[in-house]
């Protein structure tokens, strides 16, 4: 876990994204604020349509042309990204801030070898020679756990499995030793066993290189295991923010609570029982939003929810948007530990038979 005192790498204050559609203006991202420190992992979690992917694109300056980004502040290592010129943003992108996407097949160009893509990337940003770039590529492929790296350089993306391709994507992102890594659903398209490996790799690399990481996902299990801090998004807003321990043990926002009750957890939810669920659907993101976006689906909605919802705070970085100041406790960790067998604790598998 990172010290709360390490320097802030990314500071986002009141970020908005507006898209001008045929009939109305759509606001996929509304008033989003967060910060990420060196060596820290922030997970942005939410369901489809919550705006988490748009947020990541807004950070990297990769929004579609029709989308407009505006914010009170968007600082990367003290530099104001909002004022930065297009060429400056280009220089930063891929060099100091890197991104890993969900689909490794479409993110890697199938017409070029792995080596060519890694090397081109490095040479473009650092002006290195081919030999230097090659060396760096091999070094990074080793770092992401790919053996016989020199051979792999000559291979094409289709010759690698999904897990290996994602490792290559991570290697490419790390070529220029960025300070910030944004990973958008990096393990969602992978098999379950590979997913664990990729997440472990990201966590290890982060610890070793001291990178700030923003990981975007819809999977609360991933969030719990890898996040230091969590931002829960709904309908374009951050509805709750805090450390992973706080969010999972004491979720404050009804949406977060609802989400946690939806997931079947082996050992905790009784098999065959009804899972909790959240009634209704996500509201439209077009036009202006008054009051709480979740009120139509909230079991605790009241008249106050129609007004502007204030951002409540409870200590450093613990914020949520709700009129209710109620606590809700999820069963203590100890109970969960006892309910699960020892095999499910993430220890190495023990010997099976005597």
């Amino acid at each position: 876990m990172s010290a709360a005192e390490s320097p802030v790498v990314l500071e986002v204050r009141r970020l908005h994204v507006d898209i001008r559609a045929a009939s109305a203006v759509v606001h996929p991202v509304r008033d989003v604020s967060f910060q990420v420190r060196r060596g820290e992992t922030l997970c942005i979690v939410g369901e489809s349509g919550c705006g988490k992917s748009m947020t990541s694109l807004a950070l990297m300056g990769l929004l579609p042309r029709a989308a407009l980004r505006r914010a009170q502040a968007l600082d990367f290592l003290g530099e104001d990204l909002l004022q930065a010129s297009a060429s400056r943003q280009n220089a930063l992108r891929g060099d100091r801030m890197a991104m890993v996407f969900q689909e490794p097949m479409t993110a890697l160009n199938p017409a070029y070898t792995i080596g060519e893509q890694l090397v081109e990337h490095y040479r473009h940003h650092r002006g290195a020679s081919l030999a230097q770039a090659r060396e760096r590529a091999v070094e990074l492929l080793h770092k992401v756990g790919i053996a016989s790296a020199a051979e792999r350089l000559r291979q094409y993306p289709h010759q690698l499995s999904g897990g290996l391709r994602q490792r290559v994507m991570i290697a490419m992102a790390l070529m220029c030793a960025p300070e910030l890594l944004i990973a958008d659903e990096p393990s969602t398209a992978l098999d379950v066993t590979i997913q664990a490996q990729i997440l472990r790799l990201l966590a290890d690399l982060q610890r070793e290189l001291g990178i700030a990481m923003v990981l975007i996902t819809h999977d609360l299990g991933v969030v719990a295991r890898i996040a230091d801090r969590v931002a829960v998004m709904y309908a374009g807003q951050v509805v709750e923010e805090g450390t992973a321990a706080e969010i999972f043990a004491r979720p404050r926002h009804p949406y977060t609570r609802g989400l946690l009750e939806c997931i079947p957890v082996p050992g905790r939810t009784a098999p065959g029982s009804r899972l909790g669920s959240i009634a209704g659907v996500v509201p439209s993101l077009a036009g202006e939003l008054r009051g709480c976006a979740f009120r139509a689906r909230c079991p605790q909605a009241q008249s106050a929810c129609l007004q502007e919802i204030a951002l409540r705070e409870a200590g450093a970085g613990r914020r949520w948007r709700c009129v209710i100041d109620e606590e809700s406790v999820i069963p203590a960790q100890a109970e969960i530990q006892n309910a699960l067998g020892p095999d499910l604790r993430g220890d190495k598998a023990r010997r099976v038979v005597q």
């Binding site: 609802g258 909790g276 669920s277 959240i278 659907v281 689906r297 079991p299």
Partner: protein, 301 residues
């Protein structure tokens, strides 16, 4: 909490997506389709009601009034608004009746080649494997043949006439239908609603007719419009070469051919049918483009 609510109430706050504007509305909103379709419709009306629009019989010759220029020339008059040709036949009348021939050709060839090509494409796309190989072989063989040469040869052997031209073109121009429908069918074939229909026990014929065909129809319509335009041009070319429709039929291609000799003296003789042909082809292509945009907005033209 919400865990106790029955399934129905869970949807109490459900929003239904607003109904998409009806097909007609979408069609009317597309400019290409409206303009192209409008011109096409005008030509169709002209052709269908030719006797109403044509002031004279297009075959009647008036040798005393040969090559009279159209009304906007000094020597022209409203008696013959578009002048007369080298045999004194009223040009406006010939033009209007010529529209019939062009549209008849375009429509018939599209229908005949559409039937052949779509059947082949559907079968190849749906069944795959050996059947696909066989059909692809047939298509490749057909593609190896230059349509114009085969048409010329056939007409030279059998003699030219409207129906010969329609048959020859119809039996030759099905390749694009086959190729496009095959690929469209393959795409639809792999979708899960086809598997669901199979799992429900539906027969192959029912699946192809009820599940596949309605979903590949947009592709069919677009290709049909392109092939119709192409057929019209081909017939005009054949007639121009003297191996298509025979005189005295007022085919626009034939009119252009007959006007060749007078090109420098009576320019309108060649310009008017030429312009009409260009306008018709333009209208069909524009409408086809519009249809493509309406039905398949995500695909590049």
């Amino acid at each position: 909490m919400s865990a106790q609510l029955p399934a129905l109430a869970e949807l109490a706050a459900v929003e239904i997506a607003p109904p998409r504007p009806s097909a007609l509305r979408r069609l009317l909103a597309n400019k290409a389709l409206v303009i192209g379709g409008g011109i096409l419709l005008a030509i169709v009306v002209l052709a269908v009601f030719a006797p109403l629009f044509a002031p004279y019989d297009p075959y009647v010759q008036d040798l005393a009034n040969r090559t009279v220029p159209p009304v906007w020339y000094a020597q022209g008059s409203w008696a013959h608004p578009l002048g007369t040709d080298q045999l004194g036949r009223d040009y406006l009348s010939r033009l209007v009746y010529g529209a019939r021939i062009s549209l008849l050709i375009g429509g018939s060839v599209a229908v005949i080649s559409g039937l052949i090509g779509t059947t082949l494409g559907l079968v190849a796309g749906y069944f795959g494997g050996r059947i696909d190989m066989l059909v692809s072989f047939v298509v490749t063989t057909r593609l190896a043949m230059p349509v114009i040469l085969v048409a010329l040869a056939t007409v030279a052997l059998v003699g030219g006439s409207l129906w010969v031209v329609i048959l020859v073109l119809g039996l030759l121009k099905w390749d694009r239908f086959a190729v496009v429908m095959r690929s469209a069918t393959q795409q639809v074939r792999s979708l899960e609603y086809v598997a669901a229909a199979q799992a429900a026990g539906a027969s192959t014929a029912r699946i192809i007719a009820g599940e596949v065909l309605p979903n590949v129809l947009p592709h069919l319509i677009v290709v049909a419009s392109l092939e119709a335009a192409s057929a019209i041009l081909l017939e005009a070319s054949l007639s121009f070469l003297g191996l298509g429709v025979q005189p005295p039929l007022p085919s626009w291609g034939l009119m252009i051919s007959e006007a060749k000799a007078y090109m420098f003296f009576s320019f309108w003789l060649i310009a008017i049918p030429g312009a009409a042909l260009a306008l018709l082809i333009f209208a069909i292509n524009l409408a086809g483009d519009g249809l493509h945009q309406v039905f398949m907005p995500h695909e590049r033209s």
